[in-house]
Symmetry: C2
Subunit: 168 residues, 2 copies
Amino acid sequence: MKGKRIDLGHAECGIARALQIIGDWWSLLIIREAFGGKERFSEFQKSLGLARNILSTRLKKLVEEGIFEAVQDEGTSTRNRYVLTSKGEQLYIVLIALWQWGEHHCFEPSELKYSMVDRDKMLPLAALELRAQDGRILGPRGFRTAVRAELPTSSAKPPAAAKRTRTT
Amino acid sequence: MKGKRIDLGHAECGIARALQIIGDWWSLLIIREAFGGKERFSEFQKSLGLARNILSTRLKKLVEEGIFEAVQDEGTSTRNRYVLTSKGEQLYIVLIALWQWGEHHCFEPSELKYSMVDRDKMLPLAALELRAQDGRILGPRGFRTAVRAELPTSSAKPPAAAKRTRTT
């Protein structure tokens, strides 16, 4: 382990499989663990099995970047809990996008042991869909980047804040 | 440059800013360029400004992983075009998720120079939303992983194939 990239290619997690292809993603894996309820250095270390110095460096950076808040652990003066900030929590769409891509493209059906489910009903999530403002579903060639200053004034606004309000 | 991480923190692209925080994402940046129409080694090299040996290694790996297909360039016997496969194209949801997160959390409004728009109407995209199978919008705490074998039989199926059909 100790700083060397571990082989995530056979991990049970769709995200991990996608990361094996896409790059060095310790930070997102730490964030994934936080979504699963992990908060303490020792918990991250145990579940991810990465070297203490690497975990320490990544957590420090993630705190600096405003993804985690370090909160002093109750009853200790030295240990922290690492709690996702709102900014960190909003990475859930990235995690789900990776999970769904990995699940769809990096597993044989018989290999799938875990599903991402709706917490209330324990049913698999719907696939993420990209939509235009008028609700049309867009495919992989349905979008492009554009210079904001060249768009009609009314289109230069970011997607409406209301669209970011979610129920849970 | 030459193998050293470049500073993407002030790039104009929401994805690049997210990557600065999240990790080493050359591969996704190469894929982003492919969505923008780049196909040739020299085009990727010019637009990303990364060292030839790094680009070469990444492209080789991405071909091996089935993200790109290497197609011999017309009129030459040595050069390839790198064309996204269907598997590669399906990473668009990941790219958009990163873009939207980066745009929302890593820019001041006045810094935003580019938008991701619907190619037909040139209007900004709707924000990606995570939904349950029954259509409820789920927030960052609205999902969890579950062991497939412990789910009701009807829920153990992956999201319906029809949901993956998109119009463009």
